[in-house]
Subunit: 332 residues, 2 copies
Amino acid sequence: MIKTIILKNRPEGKPTLNDFETIEHDDDLSIEDGEIVLETLYVSVDPYLRGRMSAAKSYVEPFELNKPIHSGVIAKVLESKHDNFSDGDYVSGMLDWKTKQVSNGKGLQKVDPTKADLSTYLGVLGMTGLTAYCGLTEIGKPKEGETLVVSGAAGAVGSVVGQIGKILGLRVIGIAGTDEKVALLKSKFGFDAGINYKTTENMKQAIAEAAPDGVDVYFDNVGGPISDAVLFNINKFARTVNCGAIAVYNNTDLPKSISVRPFLIKNSASMQGFIVSNFEDKFPEAIKALSGWLADNKLTYSETIVEGFENIPQAFIDLFNGKNKGKMVVKV
Amino acid sequence: MIKTIILKNRPEGKPTLNDFETIEHDDDLSIEDGEIVLETLYVSVDPYLRGRMSAAKSYVEPFELNKPIHSGVIAKVLESKHDNFSDGDYVSGMLDWKTKQVSNGKGLQKVDPTKADLSTYLGVLGMTGLTAYCGLTEIGKPKEGETLVVSGAAGAVGSVVGQIGKILGLRVIGIAGTDEKVALLKSKFGFDAGINYKTTENMKQAIAEAAPDGVDVYFDNVGGPISDAVLFNINKFARTVNCGAIAVYNNTDLPKSISVRPFLIKNSASMQGFIVSNFEDKFPEAIKALSGWLADNKLTYSETIVEGFENIPQAFIDLFNGKNKGKMVVKV
């Protein structure tokens, strides 16, 4: 029997287990030329999937109701009639939340389990690492000696962004939601300073103290009031990289904030949103840099690995409860 | 006697005549080598001056209380002991709100009254034209066939932005605050469509109808709810040029808006603030283009000329009442 997780309801506000359903069924796994049979090993759960669960127009089509959800997956090739893949290969790609499935190989990359743990290809050597590298370098345009602030700093993307910032010679300040995470920012990831936004009453002032020369680059994973507080501290020509807005993804009303426009005008500053696929032509350079830093122990990462296919929905929901440290991955 | 206008009080909310004072005094106008005596002919009043009247940090120092205000001025050289200027020359530059003053010539450019009306050098061939050209081309990066929306479209900057958009082959939609202004956008400035935001109930829908292919470039002179409505209509990779925020300059509380961040992320879109001096190295190119278009009758402009030095404060206040069509200038 194959298990599949489908989108049962479009979440209202924060997603709940009722929005998902795991079904068991017999799929025909016989393949034709050009196809492969895949067994799912690791599934990536990511905040951006929340957007696709709503019906609203976004940068990608919404998930369909009663159809399988898909995200980044590491799978093993059980059988291949495809020239590019052999039995026993490991691949990475956007695949359905199914324990087994047939694919035509489109969009799949082979990954090497001898070079890095398989789950790494969903994290620092996968979409999250690429997101961190491309967003920071292409939009943030960091310069040695500048100050970088990262929100969601202990998360999969944020922790890599901060480390790249340090490698490039910036002062790096991270914002996270527990004292434990803030401690990790400094002890594990080498940030210069960390701020616990849940226990800090005046974020505007705390950022000013941690960034005495002001903020030149803000890598924003959260949106919301934390990002408003950063605005008061930006320097002339500051760049904000709008990577995520987890603070407001579950809002049912349109989120309000202070108006960013006067801050942008006063400081000749910019804000830019992106998705990682905008920078596909930079991926080889990014993977080369990230792999090199990993090999040189200049880059480290955290993973939260949840076990069990059926636990994918709960792992996804827990992203919004801050239960993950670093990349959240489900091991099937 | 010389007249000078000083900043008497920092405005709370909308500026009033009480915030200014005109004083008369005898200045010593005798000059030394390297100096010139200037007689003020035209004074530019601009929304951005409101920011400098507050004590808050901005991109330039606040005006000092009880000191003369300054802005763009066209003046005649009454006497010169400066190598670069002769008696009878006309100059443009940032000068005090004084009927006569001594200058060392720094930052002054000579202007030619035989090539264009003198007031033009405060408008389409001066700061407002440069602002329109540099903001649109350097940040908006307009491409033929795209759709450009301009707010404050009948204003000094907006009307030039829209015309440049048409010259470059874009569909251009202007937003203004009276039916008369909206009519001018089409009849005088060649916009494809105009929207009166004061009589339009659903701005989001009105913009959608005027921009059936969505909005690629938004040149924002106003900020506030109009700009929020534009956000709902932006395309992937849209660029917002944050030139002004006249809608919120007089707010005494921090203005709120819907959060722009989810829109930027969904659309890989950008917002960027600027001041014209960021692009000084583009000024020669800009002046050449603007002068050429003027000479070819591809570019026209509106001016509202108020007479009398004492009326400078009222002319400035009237900017916030939408009393100007195009560039507001005071003829001394």
